[in-house]
Symmetry: C2
Subunit: 378 residues, 2 copies
């Protein structure tokens, strides 16, 4: 791809600052190295092969995915060690088997019910195919998984131990509720419980199961705030690659760390209502407003200078499908941001904003040096 400047891009589009991305990824690797655990980046945020490789220090390493589409996309690019971190259902086992065989990879799966454990064993036996499995533990998020004291953990581990094709590798837990607070003491306490529950859960395994179980935990906040991760095999985290205003609003990152923005053009000046209209609306930004709980001034995103990336003190106050509106109190902004000029919008939630787009324009030294594809869908 030829090197270009921002003015040549079709708007709206995603801009990914490579320097910030590399810095964020490097810090997370350093943190996991200090904690003596493996980082298994969650690629549901970037859904990009190039970004995943940067997260893994330019290697093809262990990754976490949230859809079988992602599993297929990354497997086709040579990733061999994939964890599909959403509970599997029997209907999806055939595609899983197909992908594992086609790409000679392992797509480790997650279960939290006896029904699915039995169906997985049945499928393995009848198709003579192998699966690696983790049991999901609910460490307080209240979404998927079994409580650590649930007797079903033992029952499920027995079901898998009776089949030589299903390898119960360990447990997985996700402290997604670490996003619900901006209190550091509370995040630390959630991180501690995530670690302790995961470690406690494997004690309920049947004695026939793996003696050296995998303990998979994770979320970006608990990775960063963990006091130690002794005996934790791996950490799954994704948002740290890009960061966003939701994380900044909780003090998990700084606004200056956010690597992804939406480039938009000013398409109108509404003098009656003192609004600047841009061509990034609900589809380009998403309707996620999760930064607003702790930073109500965010609205649908913070508006930044397109060249410096510096926050202008303006926000997106209103969005329609293809229109965003910036309320201005000072009419000088009509001169500072004429029709046709560019702005960059910091997103509330990177995972959701990026999902509206098919690629990233890669920014380095104020130039667009490349375009990296994303996968979307299921």
């Amino acid at each position: 791809m030829k090197i270009s400047n921002l003015e040549e891009l079709n708007t709206p589009c995603l801009i990914l600052d490579k320097t910030l991305l590399e810095k964020n990824c490097s810090l997370a690797r350093k943190k996991c190295a200090e904690l003596k655990t493996i980082l298994r980046p969650h690629v549901k945020t970037p859904k990009s092969i190039e970004v995943a490789k940067i997260a893994l220090d330019n290697q093809v390493g262990p990754i976490t995915v949230s859809t079988l589409d992602e599993a297929e996309y990354f497997a086709s690019a040579g990733f061999k060690d994939i964890l599909y971190a959403v509970c599997i259902i029997p209907k999806k086992l055939a595609r899983l088997e197909f992908l594992q065989k086609k790409y000679d990879c392992v797509i480790r799966i997650v279960v939290d019910s006896i029904l699915v454990a039995e169906a997985t064993v049945d499928y393995s036996n009848s198709h003579s195919t192998k699966f690696e499995i983790l049991i999901e533990i609910d460490c307080g998020e209240g979404r998927s998984g079994l409580y650590v004291e649930d007797k079903k953990i033992l029952e499920i581990s027995k079901i898998f131990s009776e089949c030589n094709k299903t390898n119960l590798m360990g447990v997985l837990t996700h402290a997604g509720h670490s996003y619900s607070t901006d209190n550091k003491t509370e995040i630390l306490s959630i991180a501690n419980k995530e670690r302790e529950d995961a470690l406690a859960a494997v004690k309920h395994f049947s004695t026939f199961n793996n003696n050296n179980p995998i303990i998979s935990i994770g979320s970006s906040p608990t990775m960063l705030f963990a006091s130690h991760l002794n005996n934790i095999s791996e950490v799954r985290a994704g948002i740290y690659m890009f960061w966003d205003l939701a994380q900044a609003s909780r003090g998990i990152c700084k606004i200056e760390d956010i690597a992804v923005t939406v480039l938009a053009s000013v398409i109108g000046h509404n003098y009656q209502k003192k609004k600047i209209i841009i061509d990034a609306g609900a589809l380009a930004l998403s309707k996620d407003i999760s930064a607003n709980r702790f930073m109500p001034e965010v609205g649908y995103g913070f508006v930044c200078d397109s060249n410096s990336g510096k926050y202008l003190g303006l926000n997106i106050s209103e969005i329609h499908q293809e229109h965003g509106a910036i309320d201005i109190s000072n009419p000088d902004w009509f001169d500072n941001l004429p029709i046709g000029s560019l702005v960059r919008v910091l997103p509330n939630h990177s995972c959701l904003t990026c999902a509206g787009h098919s690629s990233y324009n890669i920014l380095e030294n104020n130039m667009i040096i490349d375009n990296w594809k994303r996968t979307n869908g299921w």
Copy 2:
């Protein structure tokens, strides 16, 4: 495509009920025929060639688009009369010229500023290319457009009248604020003002402009509630093809009219929290909650039986990127909706929900008879 049943589909995915789609489209055509005006369907909702053709009674007719990607997609399928209903900026004129020439079509554009009017004339002259233009009028929505009394309407019309390549065809207005109420009298009053402002605006045109101007108005509610549309050339509306809970919550349609749903699989039973977990989350449903203002019980969508489409009295109370949670008060639902079973979710806002997907699975007589592609992006 082979005929299949719902159980064979990969979840989550979109289901489009062809019978309801055809009924909704037929009613809108009938309404516009009664009102003696042309229906110019807004394809930003479906972004599908097959759906647009059904809206136009199996013809290739006039359409409205919200992005130049849509313009290109529909032009490439033979649509010749396209209105791009978002204000143009000078940078986008080159692509517009390219598309008009490549596909031998007209992509009519919208302006609301002197700066863009002048730039469009300059571009037409320097590239010897023709454009058809409407001036956008703000009839109360407060987004884009000029108030009907704004002197810039005359100035812009003079700018275009002095160039023989730019044809100012008329005015466009959009009563998007008709979505902000569930009061029929208020919608009627908004519909009246939309019509009156559009008609009044062309009186400010310079005498050199078109003597038979196009008056383009529209939104689904104002189309349905208009008492008359005398002298209105065309109506732009889109959501009526699919409907959604936002419209049902305002009494614009009935829940039974909604043609599009998200098919999802139950992937977990959380007995501790009395939740059923499905594999449709924020990316499959969108984070739009616009039905909640008038129907707070909607949450992120109403849950329906997958076969009958009948509302089960349950809603999606919580969403994560790839998880949706259904709170249940009665544990019988764990038996009624076992892991692996299917549900269909009625969306808050069809335009936003569909944008997360790349195609529609077409339902007719309880079978999936086809798969229709969507375009996404810009």
